[in-house]
């Protein structure tokens, strides 16, 4: 419990809360769209850079286990999400598939928040995790779209192109490649911009995300209790399984918890764009509300400390 509170009282989480409050009291605060995009570009590229540097310092052999596990979970989690949302959540096939694509993919911000939390808890994660984020983004979305079995002719191909060249993956992979090619020493020259202020920028980003999530949270009424429960169950199940599995392939405690948060999270950046293209009939009112309005705050508040506890226990 103390861990939960420790995790919650942080600039990043409170900024998210402040964003929610801004909407609740009908403040006229708004982050201009150009700024929101700039913050996203910065964050994704910086995550990539940092990951690339770590990757350049990691022996490839150490990566085999984690990568295999990531791919496996990238295939399994959209399937389980589809089943749960379709059977228990009572979503029709298209909408369940759309959500499955989100749960199979990753929320970069949850990932970063988890990185923070393990650092504060004194159990830093291994540096190659951002590479896994990029790997996990893609299969989840593909499986999700396949599950819909009725995407437009050529829809899957367009959607795949959209995912891979889409700015989210493109920036993260680009940053990863540059960080890897340049190595720690050369990246040090851009560190005062991309590394040091990172958490502060994340703070502003979460302020805006809080405002966006607030309107999603307002939509919860129409979502129905079954979906809300599903939106809490999925990260709990996916995240716990992933955390345990991660300790088994030899990740350290911190890394396993972050890996759990990653797998347990639902994308709200890369997946929505791809789903919108390939499954236009799926309702953003459902998949965005679930991923951003339920699962994201759930992970911030409960998921991350839970995965940390599990990781500590199994390591």
């Amino acid at each position: 419990m103390d861990l939960v509170i420790q995790n919650l009282i942080s600039p990043v989480v409170l900024a998210f809360l402040l964003g929610i409050i801004a909407r609740a009291v009908r403040s006229d605060l708004e982050i201009p769209s150009a700024i929101y995009q700039a913050l996203s570009i910065y964050l994704l590229f910086a995550i990539g850079l940092k990951g690339g540097v770590s990757l350049s310092q990691t022996p490839p052999s150490e990566l085999l286990g984690p990568i295999a596990l990531t791919l496996a979970l990238g295939v399994i989690t959209p399937l389980s999400a589809f089943l749960l949302l379709n059977k228990f959540g009572r979503l029709d096939q298209v909408n369940a598939a759309a959500c499955a694509a989100h749960y199979g993919s990753v929320s970069a911000v949850t990932f970063v928040a988890a990185l923070e939390a393990v650092k504060i808890a004194g159990m830093p994660a291994s540096g190659y995790l951002p590479a896994l984020v990029a790997i996990l983004e893609i299969p989840g979305i593909i499986i999700g779209l396949l599950l819909a079995r009725q995407s437009k002719p050529g829809g899957l191909k367009t959607a795949l192109h959209e995912v891979i060249t889409g700015k989210s993956i493109f920036l993260m992979m680009g940053g990863l490649a540059i960080g890897w090619a340049c190595g720690a020493e050369k990246i040090a020259t851009v560190a005062p911009f991309f590394i040091a202020p990172f958490k502060g920028v994340l703070c502003l980003f979460l302020l805006e995300l809080g405002m966006v999530a607030a309107s999603r949270i307002r939509d919860l009424k129409t979502a129905g209790w079954r979906l809300i429960v599903a939106g809490c169950l999925l990260p709990t199940i996916h995240g716990s399984v992933a955390t345990i599995a991660a300790t088994m392939v030899g990740m350290n405690a911190g890394g396993s918890a972050v890996f759990g948060a990653m797998v347990g999270s639902a994308s709200y950046i890369a997946a929505p764009a791809a789903v919108r293209i390939a499954l236009p009939k799926a309702s953003p009112g459902i998949y965005l509300t679930l991923s951003l309005g339920v699962t994201f705050p759930f992970n911030l508040a409960i998921g991350i400390p839970l995965f940390l506890k599990i990781a500590q226990h199994f390591s």
């Binding site: 996203s40 966006v212 950046i269 764009a273 919108r276 009939k281 965005l288």
Partner: protein
């Protein structure tokens, strides 16, 4: 000296996601140019993909009256059902209407 011609102004409001597809469609109809503004909007269909996708776009194109309704219908048929898109036509007067009638007739660069 005033020799204005009546043309049609086609205005399309669409989610950002469709930008390329709509521009491709317009180019298939040999329009000579277009102007895009970034806008926000609310409609009957509620939310769009996500903020990260950027705001809506308003695409305006001066086109010749002949093809106008046909383009409108294609946009309607292709996008209205599944996407947040609306479109309308209005009358405008331009000088040198010829400029807008055929594609790429005056490349100067």
């Amino acid at each position: 000296m005033s020799q204005t011609t009546t043309m049609k102004l086609l205005t399309i409001v669409t989610e950002n996601l469709l930008k390329e597809q709509i521009i491709t469609l317009l180019k298939e109809h040999h329009i000579t140019g277009f102007t895009i503004s970034r806008v926000e909007g609310e409609g009957s269909r509620g939310v769009r993909a996500s903020d990260w996708e950027g705001p809506n776009l308003k695409i305006e194109a001066i086109i010749s009256p002949q093809g106008a309704e046909q383009i409108l219908e294609r946009i309607s048929a292709q996008f209205f059902d599944n996407y947040a898109v609306i479109a309308w036509l209005s009358d405008v007067a331009v000088l040198r209407g010829g400029k807008f009638a055929q594609p790429s007739q005056s490349k100067s660069s």
